[in-house]
């Protein structure tokens, strides 16, 4: 359970989770999210750098969650989608707001939100979600 009070794991991933920082291979221009430290195409010729994604993209596919996993119960119904980021990779994420507004090919932008809370005494986890751009 990655979200349940794994303080060190959460801490290591905070750049990626908070602000869509991934990596880019400057040899072949491929971008990676979550960040990769090795380019599978260029292998040893690859040169990896930090890369800031804009957060803009498009819905490729989505599903409506009506029975949520632990920690997400209060958000139902909500949408989890696969987003094609403009810079060239796909990531999955929650789309906020009215579930009826979500359609394939709709434009989205990233927003900074609470993702989940362990419980009243535990940590609050923050990160990126997406919003449909009207």
């Amino acid at each position: 359970m990655p979200y349940k009070s794994s303080v060190p794991l959460f801490w290591r991933l905070k750049d990626a989770k908070y602000s869509l920082v991934g990596t880019k291979c400057i040899t072949c221009n491929q971008v990676f999210f979550p960040p990769a430290d090795f380019c599978p195409q260029c292998r040893r010729k690859g040169k990896i750098e930090k890369f800031q994604f804009s957060g803009n993209g498009e819905v490729v596919s989505y599903t409506v969650i009506r029975v949520a996993p632990e920690g997400f119960e209060k958000y139902v119904p909500y949408v989890v989608a696969i987003i094609q980021l403009d810079e060239g990779t796909r990531i999955s994420g929650q789309i906020i707001g009215d579930i009826n507004k979500v359609e394939i090919e709709k434009r989205v932008k990233s927003v900074f939100r609470r993702i989940t809370e362990d419980n009243d005494q535990g940590l609050i986890h923050y990160g990126i979600k997406f919003e449909i751009v009207d």
Binding site: K14, S19, K74, Y75, I96, G97, D98, F112, R114
Partner: protein
């Protein structure tokens, strides 16, 4: 050395609940409330929004307008009375999300509704002393009123962020504060909802402090009512700033642009900062703005800003305050209760 606002940005959650919708549930006279408070509806944060998320969104807009490298920011102070953690600074999370330097001064400020303007004063002082190049000051809140309490009609959510430094879009000409021990509104540690002295909040609290700070500032800077084009006052409702504006001798037209409370309620530490961002969105070079906050307990911080030519190239680099206020979705009391966590699962 000219110091002032280099970049600014607001954020207001998109959900609204009307006074009528709340009054219906509690069997109160909506028309009388709307007239008495001069508020039509208030903003409601989504379940996954809080002071930290609002601060991040507002600060990203401020960075877009400032056009500076975030690494150059040397201090981050967030004023709020709804910091998500009692112990664990909101600023640490906001700084990380914005990609600020680790060589950064950070603290969370509290002084009822004026902690955001106190943060602006600290950044101004540090820049003026040459300790930092830029400071980021934020006022944000997701205010809560006890269900059925008078505060429930106005307690809204929102915030604004200000980057203070050189080469400003609005020069900070001076600041003046007025503080006394006046207990009109309070919340004990660990309590979810605040308590207040009802009507007592008006005269010895709001009016005495707002008027004293505003007059003190004008005297300090040798400025008169006629020298200002816009007035921004803390907005617990629409009525208080309107009356304070009259008492200070300003025509109400100078207040109108900043009176965002009518359509979004009182966002506490974010209230006068969001009012100021609404003015900066439409201000022209040469305009002078008076801003006075108010925090219960009690104190007021007053500022004079002189808008520079830089405003024209920066106004459109991020969404305006009006963009956020007009892009809204109204919800009913049932969803409001769900969104605000007043429902225990």
């Amino acid at each position: 050395m000219v110091i002032g606002i280099v970049g600014y940005g607001a954020y207001v959650p998109k959900y609204r609940i009307t006074i009528d919708e709340i009054a219906k549930v509690w069997g109160q006279d909506a028309q009388a409330l709307r007239k008495g408070l001069l508020v039509e509806e208030k903003s409601v944060p989504a379940m996954d929004e809080d002071t930290i998320t609002i601060s991040v969104e507002a600060a990203r807009n401020a960075l877009l307008r400032a056009g500076i490298d975030p690494i150059k920011i040397g201090a981050l102070y967030i004023g709020s009375e709804s910091h998500p953690y009692a112990v664990k600074s909101s600023g640490t999370i906001v700084a990380q999300a914005l990609g600020l330097s680790t060589n950064l001064m950070v603290a969370d400020f509290e002084f009822a509704c004026k902690a955001g303007t106190a943060a602006m004063q600290c950044c101004y002082g540090l820049v003026k002393a040459g300790e930092i190049e830029y400071g980021l000051a934020i006022g944000a809140d997701t205010s809560q009123g006890r269900p059925g309490d008078a505060l429930e009609y106005t307690a809204g959510a929102g915030g604004a962020a200000y980057i203070i430094g050189k080469d400003p879009l609005a020069e900070l000409e001076g600041t003046f504060s007025y503080t006394t021990d006046t207990t009109d509104f309070w919340r004990r540690d660990g309590e979810k909802y605040p308590s207040h002295g009802a009507r007592f909040s008006g005269h010895p609290g709001y009016f005495t402090h707002v008027l004293s700070a505003s007059k003190g500032l004008m005297k300090k800077l040798s400025l008169k009512v006629e020298d200002f084009d816009y007035v921004v006052l803390h907005m617990p409702n629409g009525k208080f700033p309107t009356n304070a504006c009259k008492l200070l001798g300003f025509p109400l037209e100078k207040l109108e642009t900043s009176l965002v409370v009518k359509r979004m309620g009182n966002c506490y530490s974010g209230s006068s900062p969001v009012g100021l961002s609404a003015v900066l969105d439409v201000a022209k070079p040469g305009n002078r703005i008076l801003m006075t906050s108010y925090g219960s307990g009690a104190g007021s911080d007053s500022f004079s800003f002189l808008v520079t030519d830089k405003i024209l190239e920066r106004q459109n680099k991020a969404p305006t305050t009006e963009n956020y206020i007009s892009k809204k979705e109204n919800i009913d009391y049932g969803n409001y209760v769900k969104f605000r966590g007043k429902l225990k699962l």
